[in-house]
Amino acid sequence: MGSLPEWMAPADEGTALLVRKAPRVSRAVRRGLGGIVGIAAALLDDGLPAGRRGWLGRVDARAKVLGLLFILVITTLVTTLEPLALCVGAAWALALFGGINIRRVALAMLAVPAFTLALAVPASFNVVTEGAPLVVLCHLGGGHWGPWRVPELLAVTDRGLFVAARFALRSAACVSLASVLAASTRPQDLFKGLRGLGVPSAFVMVAAMMTRYLDLLLRSAEEIHLAKLSRSLGGVGVAREQVWAAAGMGELYRRSRTVAESVAEAMVSRGYTGEIHTLRQGRWSWRDGAFVAGCLAFGAGLLALG
């Protein structure tokens, strides 16, 4: 080792003092990988044995996928509000009493419908859905503004209200059902179930392997992100931050390629020659049959309601 330069001493603070402004790291950099914590928690959750996930967790993935997807399709077919509301209620009941980790689904089950509701509000106005005005918001006076015709008034219409309510309810029903399926089924069971339902095993294997390495990549991403954060002092400007983010992604891609190459070697080393062989599926139990039957009956009932 050469001799230490004279400034490399704990007492030296000369350069640090040049930073006058308080550290200001932009929100974007700090937030960085906002979603990571939630995803990591969800993945860890999968370590729990199936039996510790409530009765819904014990239902075979094939039965859950079949049953819940059937209801999901039905919710895209019905035209009245009652079956949609019923469906939202049923999904919440499953989430609350099925033994699901409710914290994991509550956000999605509330946030997405809320977003759709916000999006649906303008659809209730007469400018989008014509109808009898129920509540007049303001008088616009009509006439033309540039090329656009300005309506007489801005009002919530009866038809508009119905359209908006149906749109928001339908979205809520769909999202709740999908969330219940996601939260009550461990990835490994889901993939097995999909294979059992006839999804090509190459596709399932890619999806399973993706989920397997998601955790590894997310940790890498976090590591890269933290390394970046620990070195950022003052405001660095948007362009610099963009270059950083891109360098992080590029680095992540390099790592994912390395992992992919090693995995390919590990697979070949254990005899993989391009054909995918998997273990057979378990038997259907009475619980699974009952669940599917229940879903079919419920779906048929919804359809009968309109």
Partner: protein, 280 residues
Amino acid sequence: MDKVFDFRGVSFAYPGREPSLREATFDVSEGERLAILGANGSGKSTLLHLMDGLYFAQSGDVRAFGQRLTPDAVERPPFGPLFRKRAGFLFQNSDAQLFCPTVEEELAFGPLQMGWKEEEILRRVGDTLGLLGIGHLRDRPPHGLSSGEKKKVALASLLVLSPVVLLLDEPTAGLDPRSQGMLLELLDDLHGRGGLTLVTATHDLELLPHIADRVLILGEDHRIAADLPTERALGDTGLLLSVNLIHAHRHRHGGMVHSHPHQHTRTHDHAHGGGEDHGH
């Protein structure tokens, strides 16, 4: 004894790079415990990949179980599957080796490729998990496991095929001392009771006496610098210095600073005038 591997003048280079192995000639007999020793980048890992039929010699001849290893030979039955069953490769990065959604499927992967009967596969999977004491992990996904557990599962995924030879790439790297000890004990057991051939690539001299009777030393010129019994290799300080496996190292003992060639075997004792003896 039968030859498991037979290398004759084998060279290998990654496309567009300097050769990472030059003119390697050696053989490995059944039941032997061989270590491949070398500094980082000396070609240890390349050598293991060549032995496992993942890379193929650009010049020279690699034979395994009497058969020449070519891209075609390792894929075509009957030799291909048989070779894959006989040779197990424990990768340095356990994460790369554990690519299935659960431990059970991980262990079943190899046997499924061999086309074994499902009942037989499940029986062997159960037995292997029991042998390594990891039955409780059967239903778990590999990513929440500790690094020691991952290593065990990776090893189990090879043992379930009942291999003849295990190729181990830095097997103890990244393991805590307790897991290291367990792994070494297990490998010793497998060799003693099962007659398994072990080939271990490492730069850890401390590991050497536990896993090998014979050492192949790779120099930084990517050639085999020596091929000799373990005790003799560990005693030859000049040789180890020349291939960069040990280095002159400065110590501070109390108020005294001194230098001596340093090798990281488990303990070494030395005395200096006036000070009491101590070990590292």
